[in-house]
């Protein structure tokens, strides 16, 4: 095909518009077909209807205050596909983290009333310690460093990082193959320390959002892109030019961030997790979001308190 300068500029503008859309947290969308987990399969089932409600709340506890207020304030994202992403058509926030937030609200208040405060990895600890948010559901990896400032209930989900490359790329199959390569990662994701650990001399290039990282990989700004497995599976499913290499090479236990020192609430939330895991609601929630792109049955949830920092 002969491309005239006009169409080339149009392509460039379209590509940039795509990247911008990602940058501005997906301000426009065609209703979900481009959003993994945001399609008709995701977010439809009313998980909250069958969700349990706590029999009683300890007097004077944080939970009682939340119930009095009538809504649970959650620190989370609005732009994380499959995990916590606002559907621009319905304004509903969909995904695994968003669903768990609603279920916890139902457990405390009796109704799935949630207010999401858009938080970032720079602000989560501060938002919890000054009481702006009650809990954080935001792919919050449990680490001993963070556990000094916040309390972690859970882990409620365990994820892992995988490597994606352009289709047909050979020679990058394991993390050790990243040695000396330029590797793309999302800014403020656990991928950065993981790459440093696996291949200390790899050059890491970071971009703000997943669509930008994918675009950068396709344009050859790096040979590989390291990101959460579920997210990359969704991307690779839509984009045949992207290929996933190998299996996850890390294990990231996600915890529910709570105010540091609130042992009562931590026990309460862990009890709730135990209940929804036993009743099968956990698996249903997984099926509702990540299960829409990952084949097979829901995985075994990680054991509570198993991650260093969540004991």
């Amino acid at each position: 095909m002969v491309r005239t300068p006009a169409t080339r500029w149009a392509t460039a503008a379209a590509a940039a518009a795509l990247a911008l859309a990602g940058l501005t947290a997906c301000s426009s969308d065609d209703g979900g077909s481009a959003v993994p987990g945001g399609g008709p399969a995701g977010g439809k089932e009313d998980l909250a209807a069958a969700a349990p409600v706590a029999a009683s709340l300890p007097a004077g506890s944080t939970m009682e205050k939340i119930k009095k207020r009538g809504e649970l304030i959650v620190g989370g994202s609005l732009d994380a596909p499959l995990l916590s992403q606002q559907n621009p058509a319905t304004k509903q926030v969909e995904g695994l983290d968003a669903d768990f937030g609603r279920l916890l609200a139902k457990y405390i208040i009796g109704k799935p009333n949630v207010k999401i405060v858009n938080s970032a990895s720079e602000t989560r600890e501060a938002l919890l310690s000054n009481g702006t948010v009650d809990v954080v559901f935001q792919t919050y990896s449990i680490t001993p460093e963070r556990a000094k400032q916040v309390a972690f209930a859970g882990p409620y989900y365990s994820s892992g990082l995988v490597i994606a490359t352009k289709k047909g790329e050979t020679g990058i199959a394991t993390p050790a193959d990243l040695k000396g390569k330029t590797v793309i990662a999302g800014a403020n994701t656990p991928a950065i320390p993981a790459i440093k650990k696996a291949a200390p001399d790899a050059k890491i290039v970071t971009f703000g959002s997943d669509p930008e990282c994918v675009q950068a990989l396709k344009q050859g700004r790096g040979q590989a892109y390291v990101q959460d497995e579920a997210l990359l599976l969704a991307t690779a499913k839509q984009d045949p030019t992207i290929q996933i290499q190998g299996k996850p090479f890390t294990s990231d236990p996600y915890g529910i961030g709570l105010k540091h020192g609130d042992a009562q609430m931590k026990t309460f939330v862990n009890d709730w997790l135990k209940q929804i895991q036993a009743s099968g609601l956990w698996a249903k929630t997984w099926k509702n979001s990540i299960g829409t792109v990952v084949q097979g049955e829901a995985p075994q949830p990680p054991a509570l308190g198993s991650a260093p920092g969540s004991e």
Partner: protein, 214 residues
């Protein structure tokens, strides 16, 4: 405070990159600014229009949008440069628009008699601009140019959004590992303050040396 001392190499390389970005962009902005300002005061209508179009286009679209356009859009039409190079070029051109306006105000401040005298001596437009007008104009706008230099320094933080690991991006990465945002960003902020303090001092010194009292 340990979070800062433990990560001095990261902060150091980020700071270095911020300084490099600022200095290279400033040099570029000064060149672009003087060229565009000369176009805007030239006797050729097409050049004046082009200069005005440049300033209006660059100033009326946010720098972040320009950066994203250049980094993700240009490769689609086969123009691909490194991230650092792209950031330098984009910030230069963007700050160049502001520099052009500052320089133009300096040119307008030079008394009309100076230009008329230069033409009367038989100097061409370029000669009178280069030898008579611009030297006086630039002396008048030392302080505005200093402000643009500080603005350029602050704007380099936007390069973090397109993968350049300057001071802000470095602080973000350290915070990811340490989860101590207050200390880490206060440290980054102090580093920016120190840098802009240096720029401010340099501007003040230059101004005292060069300013023309009228």
């Amino acid at each position: 405070m340990n979070v800062i001392t433990d990560h001095l190499p990261e902060f150091g390389s980020g700071l270095l990159l911020t300084v490099e970005l600022t200095l290279l962009s400033l040099a570029g902005a000064l060149v672009a600014g003087i060229v565009v300002a000369a176009m805007r005061v030239s006797p050729v209508g097409v050049l004046r229009a082009a200069g005005m179009a440049y300033v209006e286009t660059l100033q009326n679209i946010p720098l972040l949008v320009w950066l994203v356009l250049a980094v993700f859009g240009l490769p689609e039409i086969g123009v691909k440069a490194g991230l650092f190079t792209t950031a330098v070029v984009v910030i230069s051109l963007y700050q160049g628009a502001y520099t052009a306006e500052a320089v133009r105000s300096g040119i307008n401040a030079v008394p009309a008699g100076q230009g008329e005298a230069a033409r009367a001596l038989g100097l061409t437009f370029t000669q009178s601009l280069r030898l008579v007008i611009l030297p006086q104009a630039l002396r008048t706008v030392v302080q505005p140019l200093g402000n643009i230099a500080i603005m350029t320094l602050m704007n380099t933080a936007l390069a973090a959004a397109v993968g350049v690991v300057e001071l802000t991006a470095a602080a973000n990465r350290v915070n990811l590992a340490e989860a101590q945002p207050i200390w880490i960003f206060v440290a980054a902020g102090l580093a920016y303050m120190a840098l802009s303090g240096v720029v401010g001092l340099a501007t003040g010194t230059l101004e005292r040396k060069l300013a023309i009292l009228r």
